[in-house]
């Protein structure tokens, strides 16, 4: 591939279970094995944390080594011959023993454990040991249901002392709230009461916990994981674009987990994003079109909305629409609202030291997408502030709001509501029936939350990612792109012929020159960097760091 930097990584050749593997010099056996598709089990190892090699389950046989070596810590070498549990009975025995050791003081309370069903202790036990324990002595009893902080609960007896949570707080957040007390089999993790686990990324330790020792205070005893539908998606909280796995049951989000993506969020997730997922789903949904506050036929509402006129119009856009939707909207503005002023709801906020590790200062998941689609450019924060000011002043006669987050906290800004009321034509594609904005608009069309959509997002660092629908959408709602398409039809223009989201994404990809050849599968894997795609054409960003697209 062209565009890689000059330094060539030195490779060594080794065999793992007889398979010839090439791996970068200085990398470890576990990395080489994983890259070659050979599974080596692990608990304590994490690619983005230091390597204590304490769980001992990743032991492998290395030819000529006097004893088994831990795959997480042993570096590859030229000509090395490695045998994992797939080919070495000695390794199998060691793995089975490690599991037996881990389980001797474990309470074996899977029946009441939230981790059951996605627990590495269960998984490995069934895969590598699955024998009854020979341990008949009394177990060591430890602390149960101890809150480590406002978000995380500890069950000391389930803990296997892998220290991932400790290392996360030491090495990543650098807050060092968690420690391990005592020694031997009385070891137990804890926090100091004066310094509980209370940082902006605290929930991440639950994701890192390979067993059921750490659980979310908010989601404990909610449901068994096998009753949920789990979807790989992207957190829409800010433009970092953290990769998440969302568990949903009966339309409720019952757990949010970080997904490993080396290039985006490692395996971290902020608490605001994780525990705040439901904020994207308003309690009272707009499911029918409204005209002047009264339910109306869609056709009538669209006809009313089509009174929007070009140059005078102000279009405020939510930053958590998909890239495809921004493209459709751009199309609509170009074809039917020529000369309209378009502003994306982009605001920044100050971040704490820990937040800065992961969180972007904006509330604008896909502002880069809007830029990429050519919908907006320049200093987004200033343009948006100016647009709101204009709205407050009552000077806006034609108003189109696309998406719930096109207007910030309207209930606390009465001048905005007054401004909206003064507009001759005001249309909004919204989701929250309870907001004052919906009441002030002439025409309201039901939209969808980003959690109910699938499509493309571009993160702050110009990585193209795929967000997948994590909850079912209510009947009557339409994704913004389709509603915009219908509106455009009333105004005599055709925006897209796509029937569904997937078709829309595919047609967008094929119609966009820079993305030719890029597949959804590729994007889903760990994203596609637009920077490298556009290395030749992009230039330095503006004040918000936005790139200019040619």
């Amino acid at each position: 591939m062209s565009g890689t930097n000059g330094t060539q990584t030195e490779l060594v050749t080794l065999t793992i279970d007889g398979k010839v593997v090439r791996a970068a010099k200085g990398s470890t056996i576990i990395q080489a094995a994983t890259a070659a598709g050979i599974e080596v089990p692990f608990y304590c190892y994490h690619p983005h944390l230091s390597i204590p090699a304490n769980c001992r389950i990743c032991q492998v046989k290395v030819k000529n080594a006097p004893k088994l070596m831990v795959a997480c810590h042993t570096q590859v070498a030229e000509g090395m011959e490695v045998n994992t549990h797939h080919t070495s009975p000695e390794v199998q025995a060691a793995q089975a023993a490690t599991l037996e050791f881990i389980l001797i003081n474990h309470p074996l309370d899977c029946t009441v454990c939230d981790q059951a069903g996605h627990c590495k202790l269960q998984d490995y036990h069934f895969e590598y040991n699955a024998k009854p324990s020979r341990f008949i002595e009394n177990k060591v009893h430890k602390v149960k249901a101890e809150p480590l902080g406002p978000t995380v609960m500890l069950d000391g007896e389930r803990c296997i002392m892998c220290t991932r949570c400790i290392r996360f707080c030491d090495e990543i957040t650098e807050t060092s709230e968690i420690g391990m007390l005592n020694r031997g089999d009385r070891s137990v993790i804890t926090v100091n009461p004066k310094k509980p686990l209370d940082n902006a990324l605290s929930g991440t330790v639950v994701d890192l916990c390979p067993v059921g020792a750490l659980t979310h205070a908010k989601w404990r005893f909610n449901t068994r994981i096998w009753f949920t539908k789990q979807t790989d998606s992207i957190c829409p909280g800010c433009s970092t674009g953290c990769n998440v796995k969302v568990a949903e049951r009966d339309g409720e989000i019952v757990q949010v987990k970080a997904r490993l993506n080396d290039k985006v969020n490692k395996e971290w997730l902020c608490d605001e994003g994780r525990y705040g997922f439901m904020r994207f789903l308003p309690k009272h949904r707009i499911v029918t079109p409204h005209i002047g506050g009264k339910a109306a036929e869609l056709n009538a509402a669209l006809l009313e909305a089509s009174k929007l006129k070009g140059q005078a119009a102000l279009v405020l856009v939510s930053p958590d629409l998909t890239l495809e939707e921004f493209s459709v909207l751009k199309n609509l503005v170009d074809k039917t609202l020529k000369g309209a002023q378009v502003a994306l709801a982009y605001r920044e906020r100050p971040l704490s030291k820990v937040e800065k590790i992961l969180v972007s200062p904006d509330y604008a998941a896909n502002f880069r997408g809007a830029e990429f689609a050519g919908l907006v450019s320049g200093n987004l924060e200033e343009s948006y502030a100016a647009a709101l000011q204009k709205l407050r002043s009552g000077a806006v006669q034609q108003l189109l709001l696309v998406g719930e987050r096109s207007i910030p906290l309207p209930d606390q800004d009465p001048a905005l509501i007054e401004g909206i009321k003064k507009a001759a034509v005001s249309v909004g594609i919204l989701t929250d029936a309870g907001s004052a904005v919906a009441g002030a608009l002439k025409v309201v069309l039901p939209g969808r939350s980003i959690l109910e959509k699938s499509g493309l997002l571009v993160n702050r660092n110009l990585r193209l990612q795929y967000t997948d629908r994590v909850v079912p959408f209510p009947d009557g709602s339409e994704p913004e792109w389709r509603m915009l398409g219908r509106l455009a039809e009333k105004m005599g223009a055709k925006l897209t012929s796509a029937e569904d989201e997937r078709a829309l994404t595919l047609s967008y990809l094929s119609a966009t020159k820079q993305l030719s050849g890029v597949t959804i599968r590729q994007i889903k894997a760990d994203g596609v960097c637009l920077k490298s795609l556009n290395a030749a054409t992009s230039t330095a960003g503006s004040q918000t760091g936005a790139a200019q697209w040619s």
Partner: protein, 437 residues
Amino acid sequence: MTAHHSILLKNIRQPDQHTLAGAESRGAYSTIKKALQIDPLKVIEEVKTSGIRGRGGAGFPTGMKWSFVPRNSGKPVYLINNADESEPGTFKDRLLLENDPHLIIEGMLIAAWALQSNWSCIYIRGEYGYPFSRAKKAIEEAYAKGYLGKNIFGSNFNHDMVIHRGAGAYICGEESALMESLEGKKGQPRMKPPFPAVSGLYQCPTVINNVETLANMPFIIENGGKAFLSIGVEKSSGTKLVSASGHINKPGVYEIDMGYPMKRFIEEECGGIWQGRKLKAVIPGGSSVNIMTAPEIEKVNMDYESLRLAGSSLGCAGFMVLDETTDMVEAVLNLAHFYAHESCGQCTPCREGGHWIEKIFTRISRGQGLPGDIPLIENVCAQIGGHTICAFGDTMILPYLSIIKKFPEEFKERIGEAIRGQVKPREYLNVVYDGAH
């Protein structure tokens, strides 16, 4: 009694040897003065020539260890004197620290010069209050006289020495755990590599030597490596301090030439088995080695190679003698309790397996043994050994496995009593508290 060379204990009975004046009157600090005129690399060569091996237990060649330290890495080099002497049955370093601390300081200075280290530390176990104060006082005296600090003996060599007190943790004798502890953390061993010579204390090149190893340096540099090499036997040169304890008439620290016959050592130096009883077994290297039965020690000599070939180890020569009355079930439980108590808790096999074994031995001792217990212990031991971060796991199983293998009838008897429900009353070696660890 046999005449052994006296390198380390030469002046130990002099009542004022712990003072600078006393030690100096017997030649202390005369060697370092000369050493400072010698090229540091030549000092290392001399130590290599001497063939001295680390006296802390592992027996690694000291000169080679020193030569691993990178020169001019741009980082400071640290020297640590491991005085954490916690191996059951070992108390030789304590004797030197209490009664001849200046010998140790001079040895450390020689090592520091060879390694071009400007900072060293004696890490002494916390329980050694008296040796601590003696050694601390000696350091203060050496500073006052200008033997430590800036421009030592008019050279441009500077060296600061600190004495650091542990606080009760056997594992801190393991060199990487010691460094962790010295950095203000729990003493939990580090994964190797990197080795301390490259990245040790505060990620800087570090050499860690045992007290006794360093105390040999003045002799080696004063008399030459060859003189040291001529003492003892081929692969184990010099003398060895043996801490003799247990069922003998004259327990204590003895300096013997390497290669000395063990039987003779027991009979002559140790004054034979106490109360006219017979020898049952010897644990020759501190508790973390294979036990040897009376017949096994008949022909064995006390040096690294001989004991290795005999299936045990010289270790740090914590020589524990057990007489015929010793109940081996109780003896092994005693050690199992020790290792379970001292496991740092970091890695799975040692943390869980160590306690498991202790619980099984406790059951056997208290008349609740089961027929499968011995094979179970053997199997658990096999899965601890070789599978842990540090050598603790590898070595704790040695006394367990060797005791159950060499004294099987005692375990059979206990378990048999339990099965028959006829447990004999006996005197226990180990106090078992209700529910306590």
